[in-house]
Amino acid sequence: MFADHRQHRTFLPPDELCPLCPTRDGGPRTEIPVPAFEVAVFENRFPALLRRPPAPIGAAAWPYRVAPAHGANEVVVYSDDHHLGLADMEPARIVKVVEVWTDRYLDLGRRDDVAYVFVFENRGLAIGVTLSHPHGQIYAYPELPPRILRRVDVAQAYLEEHGACVHCDVVTTEAAAGIRVVARNRAFLAYVPFAARFPYEVHIASLRHAACLPDLTDAERVDLAALLRAVLRGYDHLFGFALPYVMSVHQAPTSGEGHRPVSHLQVELTPIHRTAEKLKYLAGSEIGAGAFVNDTAPEDTAARLRVAMAAGGA
């Protein structure tokens, strides 16, 4: 995707000029012109995907192909508190954020020009955030992004060979083994994946086959919020600062019911730190060959996270 207008988007404004804060009496007009709110969602001022996109720049000569950037980019502002991130919220407030993600998934997923609704958060300067007010984003793509396509294809092949959802089998295996498990509750399991790309990568997956957020019951949403909070607080406790991460919420593509058997609700957390002082950079093997080299054993990082959470992080 190309969106050259995004080069000029707002970049790390001072707190008093935060565009994601509510518009208070006497204060600057922000993106959200109400004095208080719980959760707000708005169309990104600098979108890469649009309901009515412009024609692609330039003609595509063989062998290239171009297409208009159909879709949507939304910003999800978690609260009107400039400093209140998910890790510091009460569980009931995180449930509200989960409810909004669910609503947006359904609303955007109904559109004919949307094939995949991707809920995510970039947290921290090291990840490249441009606004410090805690928020997430939603990209509604017109087709399945490469990593999602691979995920669906692998799950489809596994289903055809074994007659089961690969993610269900992974979750069952991890829950039984326990060695990479970070935390669990009635509905969700948090674990460092067997083939973790990043040292402190954690997946939070539904214990039953839920394909997307709307499949969850009220009680399951509470369990998802609780486990997400526990892991995020564990991260911060272990590292001693608000750990930067990318959070990806994987759900079923919305371009057909056929994706449901091979889609499994999973929140993927990928911090880029390997120690408090060192980052895991994507370098030769990762960028050039697509093969991740992880400097830690998943079993060890899971054990460290369990200790951090038991010590008060969660």
Binding site: I32, F37, E38, F42, V95, D103
Partner: protein, 40 residues
């Protein structure tokens, strides 16, 4: 400055109501409200 309310609809899950507003440049803004009395 008050923005025009385009619509109010119940969200699909939970007790929320989504109040839909239109920003001056045409973008959509949704404010989710969980209490019956509150609103933008």
């Amino acid at each position: 400055m008050r923005l025009p309310i385009v619509g109010v609809r119940p969200a699909v899950v939970g007790a929320a109501t989504a109040v839909e507003l239109r920003m001056e440049d045409g973008r959509a803004l949704l404010v989710y409200v969980w209490t019956e009395e509150a609103g933008p």
